[in-house]
Point group: none
Chain length 207, copies 4
């Protein structure tokens, strides 16, 4: 399409072997971009090959099927969510959500959809979906909860498990169903308007 020239096409490690880690990342980038753009079914090896300036045969040499290429690319796209100890449960949760927000990538909405879609055809992807969509924040949030318990911060009558799921469920819904990009504003509404009244003994809003 663009026959290169004065830059274009994204730099071009092409001709570099796929074993090269940078080249590999380049391919994964194409894969993730494509997945986000068109979803799992319309994602074609031809398109990947074209954009990555590789031949399909080359791709197939490294990843023996479309499914495996997709899985590999997604597996390497693990977001890192950290949750520092702020001293209060709600404060900790806010940090977890903000950390997740900071790691949010423009392609992530599309990738989530692709994952839901593809997981219907491929069991490996289904596993990935449960892991990835079901718990990215969850894990960090659980650590925060553990700390809260040790501190004796208890919220009686609260279903703690659901309370932890709550922020992610809301974010997910806004993103997937309502086509919104996740925003600091939404995180604040969730933390201040729901989590704080629900869990807080302190958890004041910082900054």
């Amino acid at each position: 399409m663009d026959r290169g020239g004065h830059g274009g096409d994204g730099g071009g490690l092409h001709k570099v072997p796929l074993s090269n880690p940078e080249r590999r990342r380049e391919v994964f980038d194409v894969v993730l971009g494509l997945l986000a753009e068109v979803g799992y079914e319309r994602f074609t090896m031809d398109l990947v090959a074209q954009r990555a300036r590789a031949s399909k045969a080359t791709l197939y040499q490294r990843w023996p099927s479309k499914a495996e290429l997709v899985v590999a690319a997604l597996q390497e796209h693990q977001p890192v969510v950290t949750g520092p100890d702020t001293g209060s449960l709600v404060g900790d949760l806010r940090q977890v959500l903000l950390s997740w927000l900071a790691g949010w990538d423009a392609r992530d909405r599309g990738l989530m959809l692709a994952l839901l879609e593809g997981s219907r055809r491929d069991e490996e992807l289904a596993r990935l979906r449960r892991d990835r969509l079901g718990s990215p924040i969850r894990r960090a949030a659980e650590a925060a909860l553990a700390r809260a318990r040790r501190r004796g911060e208890i919220a009686p009558r609260i279903d703690e498990e659901l309370a932890l799921e709550l922020p992610f469920a809301l974010l997910l819904m806004h993103v997937l169903v309502l086509d919104e990009e996740p925003s600091r504003a939404l995180v604040d509404r969730i933390v201040d308007g729901l989590l704080t009244p629900l869990l807080s003994t302190s958890g004041e809003r910082p900054e």
Copy 2:
């Protein structure tokens, strides 16, 4: 599935013109079943034709494209959610959720996924998705909220809009991401473990 008639290859109304409303419903049933089963992309006109015992050409005569057939079928599959006045906000919300739960159809998880998937290709489906997944309960819940406001039941510091979204967001996540069927138990956990502590001034749990 087909409650048959006077025998033959599975009964049904095939050979009856598509203008006939019952025949129409029959076709939609096939469409919804297929969508739920395989999703939007693997849904093929051939399969519809086969299962509905019609010819593809006939289908195309009534619905000029795959997308339009899908949209038409989904539009006719509107769940009805009612919410009687129980006297308290939480009580009302519980009723709304139970009513939604009662209308839940085994195909609905699949249809939600199909909708997410297809809405990527077709703007009409995208609209449907926002409407359908974004607000089925919402509408009824909003009525309950209005009543609560009139009663002066106020939850200070609560983000009411998010609070209304919350139960559906959780249900959605459990259904779509964790592969669970929605259950009375989950509804109870949401109402008793989250909504009640959040909103309740009373809202006791009925039998």
Copy 3:
């Protein structure tokens, strides 16, 4: 390739539906020609489509796979071998062989090879091979043998089963291994030079 004109391409029932028996035969003719020409593995649906002036999709509508198309075409290519009663076993056998020879088709050598080749991949073809290559003459020959037995024509110490296989085995070998076309001369050598001394009590050579 040849865009028709003043004849060419073999008549051209193309555009006629594949359900039409004559069109069907036309396709089979292309299939058999191709099989004979290039064998089973190099036989491609593309080539068939091109030569038969049909689209691949059309072919796939009628025959759901390459293997099934091949099997169908071969099944319709049954040679007819008759064996009149000449009064003597050797005379009868000669007739059977001559009848087989008369039905010989220039493509048959290629088809035999294709059958051997394809039968390695497809069990249906393997069955066909055993039937077709193992017994075309055999059946007629057995009838002749039965008559001989009724007449009391007995060849002591002869393995009759092998004796019946003998002419076909020799023809097969000359055809498959030595690239010869089967000929009247070869049949005569077999009958006069082997079968007669082996079986004959009379069996004079006619004409």
Copy 4:
């Protein structure tokens, strides 16, 4: 299969240059095994490389094409058929057949088929086929015939050339068409039930 060595991934001589005769034989063994297993067309260089633990590039360095590799391997797989002088023509022929039977290799049926198949694409293979399938026994048999002539053992009215072809043609047919392994029993039937009555003046059956 691999009689191993000091451990490792299955032993073998991989990493040893292809110029080494033992390594060469090892590769040919892989080639023959593969040919017998899957035939000529499904025989892939990838598979050879894999099983022989060599790289395709290495193979291509020694044999410039698939066809040449196959030819080379087959050429080295010449069966040895001997035929001692037993004093009678039929006795000699039996020895020839038994010698051939003794040299029969489990892969040989597959190799014959592969040869028939491949000889359609490659003239070199076609030559090989005519030589290999057309005459393995023939040559030894001819020597026996020459001795018989010198002894004055004459079979009048017999087509001697065909008579010599006969046993091999029958064996070939049983092997290729009927999927039988060649057996002592079949050889005996051929010798005792056909050759003896046809040619014999003595030729008694030995132990």
